[in-house]
């Protein structure tokens, strides 16, 4: 135990030194973090309160349906925390130099496991924890809850709920690494992808939100009653259900009923912690050895992917050195399993999104609702593009890594290198974004004007988000970190993602009034008036130009820093 406390103490001191560093650059970084995280938390709080008010007072969906929607949201939240912890756990518990160092010391493996698990949980979940708290505050303030409710629900419900997802992730990961040593990492990763996609698909197929709404609304106006018999049986065993039930019975004024779900959550968390302890005692060291000895697929030889036109030693289309930088980026990307597997996963999620949205009926008759549905779809497109940019564009400069000396000491213009990275990233992001925009906008209205407006806005958003992620990625570059997932989940990356959300929010704010006016004219009078959409497009263009100039300026200036 003293070793455990000593290591945690060293880590805590390092953290405190970091946040109390009063050099100008650090103060600027910390202040920016506080402003952006605080701003987003405030936004989520307001949105959560407004959405709760709208659904209960305007849409009259009732307490039961409201908490079932909350349960669905919590399910996605649980999967996100779980997957995030699993991905970051691999880097933290298995591939970190700190673990290698500690393994060489007389420190029990279980102590190393416990320290790194805590480190990992707070590293990968702190942003989600903040967003969860903001959501909770918005929800509670609508119902006029006492301060004790927030304290208790945060520490006693939200934290255990997220910890359950984290503990489950580490248990599964330890077992998977042991299994991977027998079946091979490729099959295993493919299997995990299929399991997670199936988990999302099966859950939403079983709970069937559309059918649930119809069933409950048959009882209108008595929709505040409890319709638990409509829940599919397996849902009762899920942590998101326990949390939403706790909330439902708390606001329904039945604390005895609520506490039953709370106890269930605690029991399961305790059981999972004991299980994690037992699995770690048996498997952590063995799985660490497996992970240390494992070679990435295709290592030791050029690789299984053969693209002759991209091989080195061929005359290229681009002039040198741009040509060899392109070839290097291509091979470094496709020989790193975490890169192409994530890319594949993200494209699968895009496909799921497009298939899901195409089956929805979104051609509405009320202008305001049509505006809302248009902007929600646009925002979701933007969210996906922001996620892809964060994952693949933000780490682009950091991934030059320790070998960046090679470029920095060579006769290469760093500005050209930056622009090459920008153009390559922008073309990929913009193409994906445009496909997404055209496909998703066309299900809202068969209007060429709306498709065009969506397409122009998407091009701006792709430009804004690419420049933001590349510029911020250069500013927060960590050349020592080899793992792109850890780079994309660092504090700088979280900050960039939130800044991207603020930018998207501003774009939506610029569009909402003119778009509503456009739909009023279209739906009520039956005529189109594209003029209403020209001014917001110009405004979005100006906003994007500001984001682009600021981010690119910062990115280019950063390249002059010492390496």
């Amino acid at each position: 135990m003293p070793q455990f406390i000593l290591i945690l103490n060293v880590k805590a001191n390092a953290f405190i030194k970091n946040v109390t560093d009063f050099r100008l650059q650090s103060v600027f970084k910390n202040l920016s973090s506080v402003l952006i995280f605080g701003g987003v938390a405030l936004g989520v709080f307001l949105l959560s309160r407004a959405a709760t008010g709208y659904l209960l007072q305007q849409a009259h969906i009732g307490l039961f349906l409201f908490h079932r929607f909350l349960s669905m949201l919590l399910y996605v939240f649980f999967i996100t925390v779980n997957l995030g912890n699993m991905i970051v756990c691999y880097a933290t518990l298995y591939k970190s130099e700190e673990v290698t160092f500690l393994m060489g010391l007389p420190v029990p493996h279980l102590t190393i496991f416990a320290v790194k698990f805590i480190d990992n949980f707070f590293y990968s979940s702190s942003t989600l924890l903040l967003l969860g708290l903001a959501l909770l505050l918005g929800y509670g303030s609508y119902f006029g809850m006492s301060p004790w409710f927030y304290l208790f629900t945060f520490a006693g419900v939200l934290l255990p709920f997220m910890l359950t997802a984290g503990v489950l992730a580490v248990i599964v990961l330890m077992i998977l690494i042991r299994v991977a040593s027998r079946v091979g990492i490729r099959w295993l990763l493919a299997g995990i992808m299929i399991i997670y996609l199936s988990a999302i698909y099966l859950y939403f197929s079983a709970v069937n939100p559309v059918d649930l709404v119809q069933q409950v609304m048959k009882h209108y106006p008595d929709v505040n009653a409890y319709f638990g018999y409509l829940d599919p049986p397996f849902v009762r065993y899920l942590p998101n259900h326990w949390v939403s039930e706790f909330m439902y019975w708390t606001v329904a004024g039945d604390p005895a009923h609520a506490s039953w779900y709370l106890l269930t959550l605690f029991y399961i968390l305790a059981a999972l912690l004991v299980t994690a302890w037992m699995v770690a005692r048996t498997y952590y060291y063995k799985s660490w050895v497996n992970a240390s000895e494992s070679r990435p697929p295709g290592s030791g030889r050029p690789g299984f992917l053969q693209v002759r036109s991209m091989e080195f030693g061929r005359e290229g289309i681009l002039p040198r050195p741009a040509d060899v930088v392109l070839r290097r980026d291509f091979w470094v990307f496709f020989r790193e399993p975490s890169q192409w597997l994530h890319l594949l996963l993200m494209f699968l999620l895009l496909m799921v999104f497009l298939v899901s949205i195409s089956s929805l009926e979104l051609k509405l008759t009320q202008p305001f609702l049509q505006t809302i549905s248009y902007l929600v779809v646009f925002l979701f497109d933007g969210f996906l593009i922001a996620s892809i940019s964060l994952r693949f564009v933000f780490p682009a400069l950091s991934l030059e890594g320790d070998a960046f000396w090679c470029i920095r000491s060579a006769p290469v213009s760093l500005r050209k290198l930056y622009w090459q990275k920008f153009i390559g990233s922008f073309l990929l992001i913009a193409t994906t974004a445009e496909i997404l925009s055209v496909a998703s906008t066309s299900v809202l209205r068969d209007s060429p004007v709306l498709i065009l407006v969506g397409s122009i806005c998407t091009a701006f958003v792709a430009l804004g988000l690419t420049s933001l992620n590349l510029g911020a990625g250069a500013y927060f570059a960590t050349f020592r970190e080899k793992n792109p997932i850890r780079i994309a989940s660092s504090q700088g990356a979280s900050l960039t993602f939130l800044a991207g959300m603020v930018y998207l929010g501003a774009v939506v704010a610029l569009l909402v009034v003119p778009l509503n006016r456009y739909f009023e004219i279209l739906i009520i009078r039956g005529t189109t008036s594209p003029g209403w959409l020209a001014i917001p497009l110009v405004a979005v263009g100006i906003l994007t130009a500001i984001v682009f100039a600021g981010s690119t300026g910062v990115g280019l200036a950063t390249l002059r820093r010492d390496f």
């Binding site: 050029p302 080195f312 040198r320 040509d323 060899v324 470094v332 020989r335 320790d402 006769p411 010492d562």
Partner: protein, 238 residues
């Protein structure tokens, strides 16, 4: 002798810490220059400023008359660099890495191919050249990075600890190659802690301590041998 490397009144500060203090050196064409000093003296900082990895707080570093920071592209065109840690792209094979570096120096593909063949033979890279960097030992990396530093036939070679991780045979090979290259006009600026290597290879030396030059040998000084340098180094740096 025309100076190939000129370091003019260079100072580098990190906050209030002065890592290099008003350094002034010039190294002529074909000279093998040894740059010595105890740990933390400012050797690697100086090398990083010459290669453009650090910007000097004041002063300038010139390669063939071009300022590395104001005019980086022409200055670096004739520069080869071997860092203290031979990092390379782990997902590229040794051969791909050499093609990459050749391309960075805008060399024609056919010439790069020919040079790779020469270096495979010179540094005995044949057994591992087509494996990925992530498989390499320190010595293998060092040999690949040395080949990469010389593939474009530079006029100036900056080396930070060239023999780290090399076995005796490879070490001999590297020493002979470097010495032979200086007779062909290559200027070498080498930082190392191995004093016997300096005695064997260098034409001239300077010793740095706490960021300041405390000893600089004049050109044509008598050659040192039998551990004289070690005695002098220990005396000067105590």
């Amino acid at each position: 002798m025309t100076p190939t490397i000129q370091i003019r009144n260079v100072t580098k500060r990190f906050g209030s810490f002065v890592a290099v203090d008003n350094l002034d050196l010039s190294i002529g064409k074909g000279e093998f220059f040894g740059f010595l000093g105890p740990n933390g003296a400012g050797k690697t900082t100086t090398i990083k400023m010459i290669t453009g990895l650090y910007a000097p707080t004041s002063g300038s570093c010139l390669i063939n008359g071009f300022d590395v920071h104001r005019d980086p592209v022409p200055a670096k065109r004739s520069l080869g660099y071997v860092p203290d840690q031979p990092f390379m792209y782990e997902k590229l094979t040794g051969r791909e890495f050499l093609y990459f570096v050749g391309g960075i120096f805008s060399m024609p593909v056919a010439v790069v191919k020919e040079r790779i063949g020469e270096y495979i033979e010179m540094f005995e890279l044949g057994d591992f050249i087509d494996k990925r960097g992530e498989e390499f030992s320190q010595g293998m990396r060092q040999r690949i990075v040395l080949s990469a530093a010389m593939i474009h036939d530079p006029g100036v070679l900056i080396i930070d600890e060239p023999l780290v991780g090399l076995d005796p045979r490879s070490s001999r090979l590297v020493k002979d190659t470097l010495k032979w290259r200086t007779t062909q006009g290559l200027t070498i600026f080498m930082s190392t802690h191995l004093l016997e290597i300096v005695e064997e290879l260098c034409d001239r030396i300077a010793i740095i301590k706490k960021g300041r030059i405390i000893y600089e040998e004049s050109r044509g000084a008598a050659r040192r041998s039998n551990g004289q340098l070690e005695t002098m180094f220990l005396e000067l740096t105590k």
